[in-house]
C-alpha cells in the first residue's frame, strides 16, 4: 500500500516564529503555497500558518491605508501552535482520514524531530485521480456482484482467458443494493465486447455503461 513518503512534497518552505506576517504573505505569494510550517532553529515544527489564517488578520486592502502593526506582527503570535503532524510511514488512507475528520487541509510530515515533508488535500486528490484515471489506453467495465467470497477470482479468470491486461480494480459498495458491491475494472483493450459477453454468460451483472436515470448503481 502507498505510504505518505511516496507522495509527500519534500521541498518544504518554512519560516521561523520571529518572521513577520509580511514575510509569510511574501513567501506564500512567491512560492504559490497556502500552508507554511513554522520551525525553530533545530528545524523542529512549532506551529503552522495557512493563507486562510492570514486573510482573517490582514486588514482589507479596500480601505487603502495599511496597518503597519499587523504586517509587522511576528508569526509566533498568530500561528497555530503544536499542529497535528504525520510520519513518512503513515498510510495514505490514514492521512486522508485525519484531514477529513479534523477538517484541516495539510499535514506536516516529521521524523527525527525535523520536518521532512508536507502533504495537502490537493496531493491526496491527485493520488485519487491517478488511482481512478486512465494512465494507459484502456476501457472500463463496471460489474455489480453479490458480496461474497471468491467473486473477484471468478471475474479475473474471465479477463485472463481473453489475455486482457487489467490495469486497475476498484471495489466499492453499491448504493442501491445493500448486499452488492461494484467491481470496476480498467482493462487495456478497445473491444471489451467478448469479455462482457462472457461475464454475462457467467451470470454477472455488467453495468456498461449505466444509462443515466434508468439504472442506478
Amino acid at each position: 500500500m502507498m505510504i505518505i513518503e511516496e507522495i509527500m512534497n519534500r521541498d518544504v518552505h518554512s519560516l521561523s516564529p520571529s518572521h513577520t506576517v509580511k514575510d509569510a504573505i511574501t513567501i506564500m505569494r512567491e512560492k504559490k503555497i497556502r500552508h507554511l510550517p513554522i520551525v525553530d532553529d533545530t528545524e523542529k515544527i512549532v506551529g503552522i500558518i495557512t493563507s486562510h489564517d492570514l486573510k482573517n488578520i490582514v486588514p482589507s486592502t479596500i480601505k487603502g491605508e495599511k496597518h503597519l502593526t499587523t504586517y509587522d506582527t511576528p508569526l509566533e503570535q498568530i500561528m497555530v501552535k503544536d499542529p497535528l503532524i504525520g510520519h513518512p510511514l503513515d498510510f495514505i488512507e490514514e492521512v486522508a482520514l485525519t484531514l477529513y475528520e479534523s477538517k484541516i487541509s495539510c499535514l506536516p510530515i516529521v521524523t527525527g524531530g525535523k520536518i521532512v515533508g508536507i502533504v495537502t488535500t490537493t496531493d491526496l486528490l491527485y493520488t485519487y485521480i491517478e488511482l481512478t484515471g486512465a494512465n494507459k489506453p484502456s476501457s472500463k467495465i463496471d460489474i455489480r456482484v453479490i458480496d461474497k467470497p471468491g467473486i473477484l477470482s471468478d471475474i479475473t479468470e474471465i479477463f485472463k482467458k481473453h489475455h486482457a491486461n487489467v490495469l486497475s480494480v476498484l471495489v466499492y459498495p453499491s448504493t442501491s443494493q445493500k448486499d452488492s458491491k461494484i467491481i470496476s475494472v480498467r482493462v487495456q483493450i478497445i473491444n471489451p465486447l467478448s469479455i462482457i459477453e462472457d461475464l454475462r454468460k457467467e451470470g454477472f451483472d455488467v453495468l456498461w455503461p449505466n444509462l443515466p436515470g434508468v439504472d442506478s448503481i
Binding site: D142, R186, I189, P212
Partner: protein, 385 residues
C-alpha cells in the same frame, strides 16, 4: 485543378486481423461501390495507394518497433514476444505481412498529402487511414502505424506546414495528440465519448498540451447517449473557434464513423445527420483558412454495413461539391450486398426517424456537454476578450 482525389487500392483490404475482428476494411469496398452506383466516383478520380518507406514510417515510430512488426508479420515472433509492443493481443492480433499492410495505409495517407500539398487537387480522401491510436513504439486499439502522425510530420518536414488535426472518431485521438503534445505548430482537436468507460480513457478537457505546445491540444469529451443536436453544437463551435484561433495552413480530418447509434463499440447516439454536417463545415473552413487544403482519412466505424458506407460517402460528395444524396439507396447496391450483411440495411440515405427510444435525462446530457464545451474553449475565449 481537380476538386478531390480518392486514394484506393484493393491491397488496402489486406489490413485484416481475422474474419471475426470488428475492424474490417471491407468498408472501403462497400463505400466505393456505393459512390460508383450513384455516379459520384469514377476511375479517373481514383489514385492508387503507395507503400510508405521505413524512413517515412520512422517519422512517427520507433525503428525497433517497426522491426518487431515486420518480424511478427513474417511469423518470426510469438505473441508473448510482441506483448510489450501491443501486438499479438485480442485487439491487435498478429496477421501475415502486417508490416506491409500497415505501411500501405501510411503510404496512402502520404499520397493524399502530396496531392493536396503539390496542388494536384484541392482535397484528398484516404478512407483506409485514420489509425489514430498507434503510438511511437506500440500498437493500440486496432492501430499498428499511425498514418496521421506520420503524415503530419511529413507535412512539417516536406512542406513546412502548420497543421490542424480534427478527430471526430467516437474514441479519443490519443496517438496523434501525444505525438504533438509539445509542438506549438500542430494543433489537435478531438471530439469523443468521455473516457469514463470508453477506450482509451484519456481526452479530458484538461489535456491542453505541454510546454511550448500548451494551448494547441483541444479535447471535447461528450457524454454517452449524446444525440445529434448536442453533438453538432459541440462540433460546430469547437471547430469554428479552433480554426480561427490556430489559423492552420492545412487541415487533416479523421472521420471515424463510430459515433452512430448502431455502432457496437460505443454509446453515442448520433445518426446520419452528423455525418452530413461534419464534412460540410470542415470543407467550408478549409476554404476559409487553408486555401481549400483538406485531407480526410477514415478511422473507426464498426457497423460496416448500415453506417459506414453511407457516412463516408458524404465526405466524398462534399469534397466534390455534389448535392447531398437523399432518398433511396441504389437498388443494385442493396441487392448486391444484402446477402452478405448480417443485419437488414437501412434502405435510404437518411436514418428512420426516430431511430431509437427517447433518452431519459436528454436535457441534462445536453447541459453537461455545453458546460464541457465552455471549459474546453475557455482559454481561446478569454484571449479574445
Amino acid at each position: 485543378m481537380k476538386n478531390a482525389v480518392f486514394i484506393y487500392s484493393p491491397e488496402q483490404l489486406g489490413y485484416k486481423f481475422s474474419d471475426s475482428h470488428p475492424f474490417n476494411h471491407k468498408r472501403l469496398l462497400l463505400t466505393m461501390d456505393l459512390l460508383k452506383e450513384i455516379n459520384a466516383l469514377s476511375d479517373t478520380d481514383i489514385v492508387p495507394a503507395r507503400v510508405a518507406t521505413d524512413e517515412e514510417i520512422a517519422l512517427g515510430h520507433d525503428q525497433k518497433y517497426i522491426e518487431i512488426v515486420k518480424k511478427a508479420g513474417h511469423g518470426l515472433l510469438t505473441p508473448e514476444q510482441c506483448e510489450n509492443y501491443g501486438i499479438g493481443t485480442e485487439d491487435t492480433p498478429i496477421f501475415p505481412n502486417m508490416h506491409e499492410a500497415s505501411a500501405l495505409l501510411v503510404g496512402s495517407t502520404l499520397q493524399a498529402v502530396d496531392h493536396v500539398m503539390q496542388g494536384k487537387s484541392r482535397h484528398a480522401l484516404n478512407l483506409g487511414g485514420g489509425l489514430h491510436h498507434g503510438f511511437h513504439g506500440r500498437a493500440s486499439g486496432f492501430c499498428i502505424y499511425n498514418d496521421s502522425t506520420v503524415a503530419i510530420r511529413y507535412m512539417q518536414e516536406k512542406y513546412n506546414a502548420r497543421v490542424l488535426y480534427i478527430d471526430t472518431d467516437a474514441h479519443h485521438g490519443d496517438g496523434v495528440q501525444w505525438a504533438f503534445y509539445d509542438d506549438p505548430n500542430v494543433c489537435t482537436l478531438s471530439i469523443h465519448e468521455t473516457g469514463r468507460y470508453l477506450f482509451p480513457g484519456t481526452g479530458n478537457v484538461t489535456e491542453r498540451g505541454n510546454g511550448q505546445g500548451y494551448g494547441t491540444s483541444f479535447n471535447f469529451p461528450i457524454d454517452a447517449f449524446t444525440e445529434d443536436e448536442s453533438y453538432l453544437e459541440i462540433y460546430e463551435q469547437a471547430v469554428r473557434e479552433v480554426f480561427a484561433y490556430f489559423k492552420p495552413d492545412v487541415v487533416i480530418t479523421q472521420n471515424g464513423a463510430d459515433a452512430h447509434y448502431f455502432d457496437p463499440l460505443t454509446h453515442l447516439h448520433g445518426t446520419m445527420k452528423i455525418y452530413q454536417e461534419i464534412p460540410r463545415l470542415a470543407h467550408r473552413l478549409a476554404h476559409e483558412y487553408c486555401d481549400g487544403k483538406w485531407i480526410a482519412v477514415g478511422g473507426g466505424g464498426y457497423d460496416i454495413w448500415r453506417v459506414v458506407p453511407r457516412a463516408w460517402s458524404f465526405i466524398w460528395t462534399e469534397m466534390n461539391d455534389l448535392s447531398l444524396p437523399t432518398g433511396s439507396l441504389p437498388k443494385n447496391w442493396l441487392e448486391k450486398w444484402q446477402p452478405e450483411s448480417p443485419v437488414p440495411f437501412i434502405p435510404t440515405w437518411e436514418d428512420p426517424n426516430p431511430l431509437y427510444e427517447p433518452i431519459p435525462r436528454k436535457l441534462e446530457i445536453e447541459e453537461k456537454n455545453a458546460q464541457m464545451l465552455k471549459k474546453a474553449l475557455h482559454m481561446i475565449r478569454a484571449e479574445k476578450r
